[in-house]
Subunit: 354 residues, 2 copies
Amino acid sequence: MAERAGVAVGTVSRVLNGHPSVTAEIRARVEAVIKELGYRPDPFARSMRSKISRLIGIVIPDLTNPFFAELVQCAEHAATAHGHNVIFMTSFDDAAREADRLTQLAGRKVDGIIIVPSTGLHSIKAPKGLPLIAVDRLVNNVPGVAADHRGGARIGVEYLVRLGHRRIACIAGPAGSASAQDRLRGYLDVVEAFDDQPSAPKIAPLVVAAAFDYESGRAAGTYLLARPRSERPTAIFTSSDQQAIGCLRAANDLGIPVPAGLSIVGFDGIPLSNLTTPRLTTVIQPISRIAEAAVSALLGQREMPPIGKPHLFTCALVERESSAPPVQEPAVDGGLLMGPAEQMIGALPNVRAE
Amino acid sequence: MAERAGVAVGTVSRVLNGHPSVTAEIRARVEAVIKELGYRPDPFARSMRSKISRLIGIVIPDLTNPFFAELVQCAEHAATAHGHNVIFMTSFDDAAREADRLTQLAGRKVDGIIIVPSTGLHSIKAPKGLPLIAVDRLVNNVPGVAADHRGGARIGVEYLVRLGHRRIACIAGPAGSASAQDRLRGYLDVVEAFDDQPSAPKIAPLVVAAAFDYESGRAAGTYLLARPRSERPTAIFTSSDQQAIGCLRAANDLGIPVPAGLSIVGFDGIPLSNLTTPRLTTVIQPISRIAEAAVSALLGQREMPPIGKPHLFTCALVERESSAPPVQEPAVDGGLLMGPAEQMIGALPNVRAE
DNA sequence: TTGTAGGCGTTATCAA
DNA sequence: TTGATAACGCCTACAA
């Protein structure tokens, strides 16, 4: 023990915790011994008494998704700045595994949990008494912080409309993902806005659902582009950069030039989106700000967003090379999806990678 | 307390730990109460006594690198299977920050640490008494597990030679990275092997160093491909898939068709390598096996590789679309790098992203 | 200001 | 087999 500095344990503790009532002389002496012995307080003993672990958990569906990887990295950075460390876990997008991880974290007595809920989850049975915040994919019984997916999608689709596109397809994300639904809703917002102005040319909606990854994007793109020329979209709005990159691949396989024969807009703004051929026009999310907001809310530096009223961050369009005005005036009739948009959400054709 | 089951604390502990000397009847009674109360032993109290945290640390230079992201995911998976959780940290490829993280982990009393050392590190000052294993980038004072980078590079370059290429450039990784050096060495192995056979046509070595990321790969590729036609390589062997993808971009920017005018071979085997245009021929690392080996060595399920004698996993070539025989017989003279290969390592022109 | 002592939840030792 | 008890390292009243 460092009490070989000639003081009592209590005094050492006071020095450690910066308690005011310690003589400068004694404090110096103790600190010297601490340094000399390389003494570190035992975190377990500490946590056992204080009930504070300075540990937070983060659970994400899949680290192979560059967006989540960046999110985790930003969150770790923010947590470290707050003096916390992070226990990382993958749910592999599986609800059962996710629930198990949550239980594990609760058992570890972490101070809080950041979670990107697995696909298909609309509510989370949170270990009670444990601060929990959903990021990116919002659920209805937990505070959340995310990009304004709906607004972001609107920005992307409106941009395509402004470019002159009228046959704009949408590759939606998986039906169970809240972020995917919001992006789809944004797409439909634009479609409906045009429906409301009878003078404006109609936009033919064309929607297909797919997972967020490269391969699913490629499959969905192939599905959309393999349609007869007259029905083929002149632009595709995707729900992730990975899907968009898969689409690029699909277009290339089918001999369709981008952006000459097809415009593609991505979503997320991952680093790679700026290095594809052609470079991807995409809607970027302010990912580091999202991560920081989640961490500081969790750690009480900022108040938690109320349940049902998540903290939303606005997205921005980055115009690059994968988008351009359409070459020929597209036909307007016939879309996969017709009718009141709201009803369609959740009942879309689903294309999946083999 | 669960001793309201009418037993002493010690007995509960024995039940919890499956100690044999407990009557079936008592055990049943205690377990019933445990379940009823949803009782969970406090991990801090437990660790405080047992000196075991069931926590391991993992420190990575950059999670934006898909290879590392996958590594982390695999490691977490393996650790979970062993009943451990993982504290994740980024060093941002900065030695000072890395050292700090290591200290933090030691302070947390994790059971072991997996580290991908930051670029430029040749040894690690490990907190002593703490199992530590280096992954992917080996250092000389710590046990390690990695892919056989040198052998893998050899496989990739030999493949290009077999295809008929003689002017094969190499984009090496950052000079400070051990894995980068090994891959470069593998490249040089092949070059030298040809030098030894006077009958065989000479291979002109051409090497440039760059960071592992997309943008650096693009810059390095541009640098190599902007040379006069007679000196331009007909094939580029890169040190990461990201570099290769950047190269793809560079070739495209310069109007050089791949693989018709240039063959590119990547390294790593990240998922994306199969979705570029053209799909990337690459040398894949058995990443999940590497991660599992690291975890089980760390946790004592398997013996640690001796220092200086790391556990190496062989790589495999996946032939895809970015490689083909060269069209025209290339000239042989003039390379950036000439002379005894060994001397060159570490003294290469370095191209970096702006 | 400083020392002393009790208690946090476990596990391990020793008796019973 | 089971119970009682000490000890792990820390913090915090409370007493000096």
